[in-house]
């Protein structure tokens, strides 16, 4: 069952309030998204940990309601 981009963004923001989230629907089918999540709270964390925080925010939906999420995470660089 597809998810709305707004729903994904809201879930991420609820778990990582300082995040800036950008979602793209890659195929326009509500099932394949790319997300860019930039958060100060990611600073100093390894990428695996950053990605895990986003996956945790989505609370088991990846692989279920959400087929695929291409994920890119970072701490702010000042260039955003």
């Amino acid at each position: 069952m597809p998810m709305q981009a707004e729903e994904i963004e809201a879930l991420i923001l609820a778990a990582i309030p300082d995040a800036s989230v950008e979602i793209r629907d890659l195929r326009g089918d509500g099932d394949h998204y790319a997300a860019r999540v930039v958060a100060e709270s990611f600073r100093g964390l390894p990428l695996v940990k950053q990605h895990k925080l986003v996956y945790e925010a989505l609370d088991g939906r990846i692989g279920g309601a959400l087929h695929a999420l291409q994920l890119s995470t970072a701490a702010p660089t000042g260039n955003e």
């Binding site: 695996v48 990605h51 895990k52 990846i62 692989g63 695929a68 291409q70 994920l71």
Partner: protein, 109 residues
């Protein structure tokens, strides 16, 4: 340890580089797995590809092993490195090459 956990443990001990993926290295069944294979091929790394579509127990077990919800998953010398997005980002930054060199992983002939 469950049977599945033991099998995963053996796979990781027996192979320096293991990619848990959907489909085979020659015929990946998912864009993310395909991208992961391309990166390893590009780096000329010898790796063991484990097709989780052929093995539901491994498919579930590896997610628990790494506490990571998606496949593909790359392991180097028994350590979880990441999924395909992390692989691509590390590759583009030259970090994946460095990790493989630091861990003295053999290249494919």
């Amino acid at each position: 340890m469950s049977d599945t956990a033991t099998r995963i443990d053996k796979l990781l001990r027996a192979n320096d580089v293991v990619l848990f993926m959907k489909g085979s290295a020659l015929f990946p069944q998912c864009g993310f797995s395909s991208r992961a294979v391309s990166i390893l091929d590009h780096l000329s790394v010898a790796f063991e590809a484990v097709d989780v579509l052929q093995d539901p127990e491994i498919r579930q077990g590896i997610k628990e092993h790494s506490d990571w919800p998606t496949v593909p998953q790359l392991y180097v010398k028994g350590e979880f490195v990441g999924g395909s997005d992390i692989m691509l980002e590390m590759f583009e930054a030259g970090e994946l090459q460095k990790l493989l060199e630091d861990k003295e992983v053999a290249r494919a002939l």
